[in-house]
Symmetry: C2
Subunit: 346 residues, 2 copies
Amino acid sequence: MGLTSARIAIDAMGGDHAPTEVVAGALMAQEKFGVDVILVGDPQQIEASLKEHHSNSPLPEIVPAEGTIEMHEEPLGAIKRKPNASINVAMNLVKQKKADAVVSAGHSGAAMASALLRVGRIRGIDRPAIGAVLPTMVRSSPVLILDVGANVDCRPKFLEQFAVMGSIYSQYVLGVDNPTVGLLNIGEESSKGDDLAVRTYQMLQENSLISFAGNAEGRDVLTGKFNVIVCDGFVGNVLLKFAEGVGEAVLQLLREELSSGLRSQLGATLLKPSLKRFKQRVDHVEHGGALLLGVAGICIIGHGSSKAPTICNAIRMARDAVNNEVLERINLQYQKHQKQAIEQDS
Amino acid sequence: MGLTSARIAIDAMGGDHAPTEVVAGALMAQEKFGVDVILVGDPQQIEASLKEHHSNSPLPEIVPAEGTIEMHEEPLGAIKRKPNASINVAMNLVKQKKADAVVSAGHSGAAMASALLRVGRIRGIDRPAIGAVLPTMVRSSPVLILDVGANVDCRPKFLEQFAVMGSIYSQYVLGVDNPTVGLLNIGEESSKGDDLAVRTYQMLQENSLISFAGNAEGRDVLTGKFNVIVCDGFVGNVLLKFAEGVGEAVLQLLREELSSGLRSQLGATLLKPSLKRFKQRVDHVEHGGALLLGVAGICIIGHGSSKAPTICNAIRMARDAVNNEVLERINLQYQKHQKQAIEQDS
């Protein structure tokens, strides 16, 4: 990509605080990272938000769209019923090469459905996955978990593809050297788990494109030992949302303990900066969004409750994925892989 | 049970710190709760541990056993191959009505296998489950999660039975009035999730023995909104171990933040008592063990790393289950239930 800056289409109507916070986050990212943002949605509402937040950088382009997919709607049906919804129009921009990536804080299932219908899958990938990055106990070693919700039922082959795509993302976007892959399971031994786990273990062990480090139990997820953890979308979704819930619960318990008695209150005052840093490390808001891997376009999905700083982080993730040519690398890997498979067959 | 005190058979050879810490915990429980403990295992080793820890309460009974099931052994095979292993001898005591409950910090799969082979299931229960209690953001509202590892593949009927047994345990042992039941899932709507989740939702909604409160997402687990959460043993095991891992990660992050700089160190010193209370609320060691529900005997499984205080807590859990007649209540419910089913059929 080199000299041209990444062009990011923003679903301005997606999320609990859309469009105001989404537009504010887009402007932030434009100033901070020098990306070109394209705001997709209702022009009147977007212009009102722009007036509220705009400082002195150039006004972003607006591409009109009609309506949005609501959180309660069944994704595939809604995506078909509302061809001009903001997420669909944003995906079209990627398909038409007018944008390099999409960022949305709206319905994640709808974003996946729209990506599949508008831009399609990468050749060689059966099922795209949603990945989420969590911080671990080792600062330089974040963990990417996938799938966290797109595929409730998985086959071993899907998890193997998640492992390859996740390794590429970890290495080129998260900057992890030789990322280790773990299979989420209920024990260390290769014989542990359900049928899916046992068969996937075998495939991962034989795959030369990744550094398979064995089964990852729940307690291993945050140790930093694994950089990529693969699982089906049911377990992954429960785990990710639990992690968010735990973060909130821990911060509340801590607040309760720290506000009881004068001694604690004094101590807490002294600790304010430390506790703020602690909160930042625990809090999901700091960690941007989830990503779609396996579709033929970059797409970052922010949390529905995203405010401007989270949107801004999600846009940075999208820019990093574009600049580090994640799509091209996955593509290349699967072309090689398929070529090898064809050669082996013949 | 009334006037007689509960007789608890302790697998003295199970766990990373057996028999020393197990024996110490048993003595603690005997003094604190007035239970009768029976130490099962190698007499020589147990006597050595007793000498080390014994104060002035009466010496517990020792029942000899040969060997133990190691953590890496395949449970069912090992249980059959070693009929005189400590967990088997302890289960025999329950079968022979010489003990009211078993406590073990050994191989949890082996405890389940031994319970099934020696004491059997409660009539009407297809699959026993392992349940684990976690604290929530509401102090008086703990959550019991089951299954956390016994049944990797589940049918809707199994989860329904977990819900009924869990409700009884929550009400009579954890003291929760009218416990609410949640189905672990990836969305709130009844249509969400895999086939197992959708079919189980329907069954739970129609079951008049429980207070079904709908789907519980990962983020709802610790809010206190649900007192019993049912799921298959794969998801439950990942979740429980992740919760343990998160507790450790959070405490380490907090320690790191609090030890950086003089101001933080002074604040941390003032906060020591608050942070200790916080640690106790987060730490799994304080919360005793997991329980087997659905076998015809009370069995509490402590964490493999249990030291004396955790063993002591696990024994208290066993005593509470005995004194509150959990088995009898589950039995009664399922006899009623089966009678109704037979009457409806005829």
